[in-house]
Amino acid sequence: MKIGKEKLIDFYWKMLKIRLFEERIADLYARGLVPGLAHLYIGQEAVAVGVCAALREDDYITSNHRGHGHVIAKGADVKPMMAELFGKKTGYCKGKGGSMHIADIDIGILGANGIAGGGLPIAVGAGLSCKLRGTDQVSVSFFGDGSSNNGTFHESLNLAAVQNLPVIFVCENNLYGISFSQKKHQKISDISIRATSYGIKGVTLDGNNVLEVYDAAYKAIRKARKKEGPTLLECKTYRWRGHHEGDPNQGTRYRSKEEIMKWKEKDPIAKFVDKLIGDNIISENELENMKVMIDNEIDQAVNFANESEFPADGELYENVYVMEGK
């Protein structure tokens, strides 16, 4: 597939933005400047960016607990994201959701989700809604290898298949459900084979290769728009950090330092940079300038979050129900 220069540069921009955002969060957490819980996406950037680059703004995604990458790739603004992580009222969810519940329905983000496997049926419903409203929108669900053992995975693939819905199931197989390795939690190595049980196509991809992910996502999305049904994409990848910030020694209780190092050598961003430079798409100087610009944007987001107010106590009681007429 031929991909234009602008799109390639956008891949880099988005992947780097996710990386730098997450690195900043790691730093802020370590210094105790952000409350709560965060699950970082570093190492998996090519999956979110490759898939979302093939989507339109009016397409839908459901994300999971490790959702920062998905929502940035889908177009979320890092300012209200950062404010949300800080628990401020200017955050995406007015400080009520935090890291695991960022949502922006207007750009198709139907929420990150704190329940493993929770987002799949919701994405199926969004796909159902696209079909019934007669649009050519599609819906994507991001989830991990661990969730592929949850009943919702099986129920959702089956339901999307029998209803022929425009849904793309994107399994990010990062080899671990928290500490439980894929080798121990299932008997198969390629999760994509599970698609066969539901009569749909399943593909296994190098999830650290943004071009490969984009190409496969593009084809699956085009198929879904043509009302030819759902696809399961399994993207093999790896999370560099622990399950959450605070997982001791980045998860070396359950995986070796050698294994982590091996995957760091397959860095999706470094690999892509080599290609961009090798193909004379962009110069190192330009890449550096982009980094400065993103860093600057994240600085501004941190300032915005710091300067924003916490919600007033009374806001505790708001938004439990839709107050009609408002």
């Binding site: 949502a103 139907l110 049926p121 419903g125």
Partner: protein, 326 residues
């Protein structure tokens, strides 16, 4: 005004809502050709076709979750869970997704959907097809709960449930399906949070839900011969709850029985009793009594089931006992 059954009234509410608003869709097991296990959706497949009356595979998490996703993206799904007992296999979609999204997302996104849950014992269906579990949902912020006690209320409450922008659990009672009362053939809604005084009396208040209303009316007729005047209040929605109508009645009678077919412990009756103790205790002349299902699973044998189901056998002694207090 024509007399129709409770099930026909719900059917009419579905039909008229679907005629008025094409976003209204039905999902459930065997609701199409079969017409629903209790025939509540009979005829709707022929009228609206398989795109709007969708038979679902046996995968409650899958299709309740799909309804959440469809509701978030512009549809108004009405889901039939064949029996309220089956809510346990999709509780995550109800409790963690449907109920909380509007709040978690800080007011972004709405989940206007209805979950129809046929409940109640008395049909020899034993422990997994006879429960009255509506109190489960009352414990969770973000859900409205309607519990109609007759056909007129059922139609008006269902039309309101579908029109409402919040998720609604609609707890139908299986023993009421064939009960008839006059029901207007034109569409109408009944507001949530508005109790109805089903019978006026000065001596004792019974707050009764679902089939307990009918049973309380029977008990009231029996004790009338002894000169006891019973007032019966049907809250019609457990959430929101019309506290004021209940308080007013208790201020008048000074005696309260709460009759609900849920289990006694931590149930709706417990909640209403606690509410009276907190806010209206000094109006009481007598202790509060709860007439509920016992804290046992629902038994199969007809004799045991008869002993299990709360009714006049339990209401009359409670009324007489409370009348001893002067």
């Amino acid at each position: 005004m024509k007399e129709i059954t409770y099930s026909k009234a719900i059917n009419e509410a579905l039909l008229q809502s679907m005629e008025k608003d094409e976003r209204v869709i039905l999902l459930g097991e065997d609701i199409g050709v079969y017409g629903g296990i209790f025939q509540v959706t009979a005829g709707l497949l022929d009228r609206f076709g398989p795109e709007r009356v969708m038979d679902m595979p046996i995968s409650e998490s899958g299709f309740v979750g799909a309804a959440v996703g469809a509701a978030l993206t512009g549809m108004r799904p009405v889901v039939e869970l064949m029996f309220i007992d089956f809510c346990t296999v999709c509780m995550d979609m109800i409790v963690n997704q449907m109920a909380k999204m509007h709040y978690m997302f800080g007011g972004r996104g709405r989940v206007p959907m209805v979950l129809r849950v046929p409940s109640g014992a008395g049909r020899g269906a034993a422990a997994q097809h006879s429960q009255s579990l509506h109190a489960f949902f009352a414990h969770i912020p973000g859900i409205y709960i309607a519990c109609p006690s007759n056909a007129y209320d059922a139609k008006g409450l269902m039309m309101e449930a579908i029109r409402n922008d919040n998720p609604v659990v609609f707890a139908e009672h299986k023993l009421l399906y064939n009960e008839k009362v006059p029901v207007p053939s034109d569409p109408y809604t009944l507001p949530f949070g508005r109790a109805e005084i089903k019978r006026e009396g000065k001596d004792i208040t019974i707050v009764a839900t679902q089939a307990m209303v009918m049973r309380s009316l029977n008990a009231a007729e029996i004790v009338e011969k002894d000169g006891i005047e019973v007032e019966i209040i049907d809250p019609r929605t457990i959430k929101p709850l019309d506290r004021e109508t209940i308080f007013e009645s208790v201020r008048k009678t000074g005696r309260l029985i709460v009759a609900d077919e849920g289990h006694k412990t931590c149930g709706v009756a417990a909640e209403i009793s606690a509410m009276i103790v907190e806010d209206e205790m000094f109006s009481l002349k007598a202790p509060v009594r709860r007439v509920c299902s016992p804290d046992t699973p629902v038994p199969y044998s007809p004799t045991l089931e008869k002993a299990y189901v709360p009714g006049t056998k339990d209401l009359i002694p409670a009324i007489k006992e409370l009348m001893e207090y002067r």
